[in-house]
């Protein structure tokens, strides 16, 4: 479970990231974070990954107050999360298999386990036959699938996706969203930032809208409508 309790983030030069934002996300939920540029979506994501700390308030994940964690404990928090970015962030000099395996190597998994698990995950995201390809040899949609596979491979309880379809066409985006939906059905919590009206409206999941750092809307089965 994720809890934001009166979370305020103020950056240098008094720029407000979040302003007393409070919400709770239960385990297994699929939540869209929407809002205009500068509304506070990125701040919320950075708080979840421990990249920044709130100026005031608490961010609690599964009972752990993230903002009180020591810097040395942040890597262990991230091992229970999978992060998917708009720009995929794959290593160009590693194959698809190696990119996914990399996430397991980093946390000290054995080669045997890596050889067993990576093909399974690649099959799950529809890339069972692309393991030996390099990122530049596959399409943008496929690169994002690799990035999802990497986020999934350590079986995280939470997937954080920052505009995962931002660089993809409509059809590919729909395919990617199907994968996220399937992952969510397996019990993984998903928090996704998106600017895609179509995706939010098609998925019909919970929507939290931010504006000037404040939570201005929190709807079950919501739609994109930013009220512009």
């Amino acid at each position: 479970m994720i809890e934001f309790k009166d979370v305020t983030v103020i950056y240098d030069k008094d720029v407000v990231g979040l302003d007393k934002a409070s919400f709770t996300i239960n385990s297994g939920e699929f939540v869209f974070l929407v809002g205009k540029t500068g509304a506070g979506k990125s701040s919320a994501i950075k708080l979840l990954t421990g990249e920044i700390k709130p100026t005031s308030g608490d961010v609690i994940i599964d009972g752990i107050i993230v903002n009180s964690l020591k810097r040395s404990k942040i890597p262990y928090l991230r091992r229970a999360q999978g992060v998917v970015f708009q720009d995929f962030r794959l290593l160009p000099n590693k194959t698809v298999f190696e990119n996914v395996a990399f996430a397991m190597e980093i946390i000290g998994k054995s080669k045997k386990e890596i050889r067993r698990k990576v093909p399974k995950i690649l099959t799950l995201v529809g890339l069972g036959d692309k393991g030996n390809n390099y990122p530049h040899e596959i399409s943008g949609g496929e690169q994002q699938r690799v990035s999802i596979a990497r986020a999934l491979v350590n079986s995280p309880s939470l997937i954080i996706a920052d505009e995962p379809t931002g660089n993809l066409d409509v059809e590919t985006s729909a395919d990617i969203m199907k994968i996220f939906d399937e992952i969510n059905k397996m019990g993984t919590t998903i928090v996704m930032v998106t600017h895609s009206e179509k995706i939010v409206n098609d998925m019909c999941k919970r929507v939290i809208q931010l504006d000037n750092g404040m939570v201005v809307r929190d709807e079950e089965n919501g739609v994109y409508n930013l009220g512009v």
Binding site: P75, Y76, R78, Q81, V83, A103, I107
Partner: protein, 273 residues
């Protein structure tokens, strides 16, 4: 970028090695100059040979005296004659006359103690006069002090500049791998896990830089000393064999430290993700 780091480390180590040998030679030459600054204790002409001998033995026992040589009247006459060379005939008929005094030439462990030693020698029975070239001694002391302190300061400056240059060079190499580091951070890699390969790479770069620069110095030193000796023949120079081990240890330590510290410091800001 790795080659740039290696080349920078090698150049810095080469400069360090050259400077090390320059300092070693300057100190070596300083010691030679210092050892040439002797005291001369003149023995009273009327004392017996036994008193003269006991005065000499007393001088040898004084703290701070490295060595002493007794020059009897007869030896003084012979030496004087030799010094005059072709004009030695002016001494004809003077042989056996007591116009030269016996003396003890005293070498000191440290010429900074010369005044104290002079006082002690002056109190020894049979010693008539002690001559100490205080003017020359003062100049030699200030020269050797400048060499010693100057070399320490220059070495520290070189070290700081070298670490700064290397840190910046390695920073470029780390910058090229910023993406990889960020990804590692987001999939839960610890700082230690990310830093270790960079520090190891720094150590390897430092070690390779050491090997190359040390070989160049080993090959170049004897040739350089050979040609300098032809011009400056009044001083002996440090033999490479006598300092090679210390130089190798310093250069290797400096190289590994520069590589490891340079990498460790360069990567620090990228770990704050």
């Amino acid at each position: 970028m790795t080659f740039a780091s290696f080349a920078t480390v090698a150049c810095c180590l080469f400069l360090f090695g050259v400077f090390f040998l320059f300092t070693a030679n300057m100190n070596f030459i300083s010691r030679q100059i210092e050892s040439q600054c002797q005291l001369t204790a003149y023995i009273h002409p009327d004392v017996t040979d036994a008193t003269q001998k006991s005065a000499y033995e007393a001088i040898l026992k004084i703290d701070g005296v490295e060595n002493a040589e007794l020059e009897t009247k007869a030896q003084a006459f012979t030496n004087f004659k030799e010094m005059l060379g072709d004009r030695a005939d002016v001494l004809e008929g003077l042989e056996g006359k007591d116009f030269l005094r016996s003396s003890v030439k005293v070498s000191l462990m440290d010429i900074r103690n010369s005044e104290a030693v002079v006082k002690k020698i002056a109190r020894i029975p049979g010693v008539e006069e002690v001559r100490n070239r205080q003017d020359i001694v003062g100049k030699v002391i200030s020269f050797t002090d400048i060499v010693k302190h100057g070399s320490i300061i220059a070495m520290i400056i070189l070290l700081i500049v070298a670490i700064f240059i290397i840190q910046n060079t390695i920073k470029l190499s780390v910058y090229a791998r910023e993406r990889e580091i960020k990804i590692m951070k987001f999939v839960g890699a610890t700082d230690h896990f990310i830093r270790t390969p960079f520090v190891l790479e720094g150590i390897i770069i430092g070690s390779l830089g050491f090997i190359v620069s040390f070989v160049i110095i080993m090959l170049g030193y004897n040739a350089a000393i050979g040609s300098i000796s032809g011009i400056v023949s009044m001083f002996a120079f440090v033999q490479l064999e006598s300092v090679a081990l210390l130089l190798a240890l310093c250069m290797a330590g400096f190289g590994v430290l520069m590589g490891a510290a340079g990498s460790g410091l360069s990567i620090k800001r990228y770990l704050k993700v």
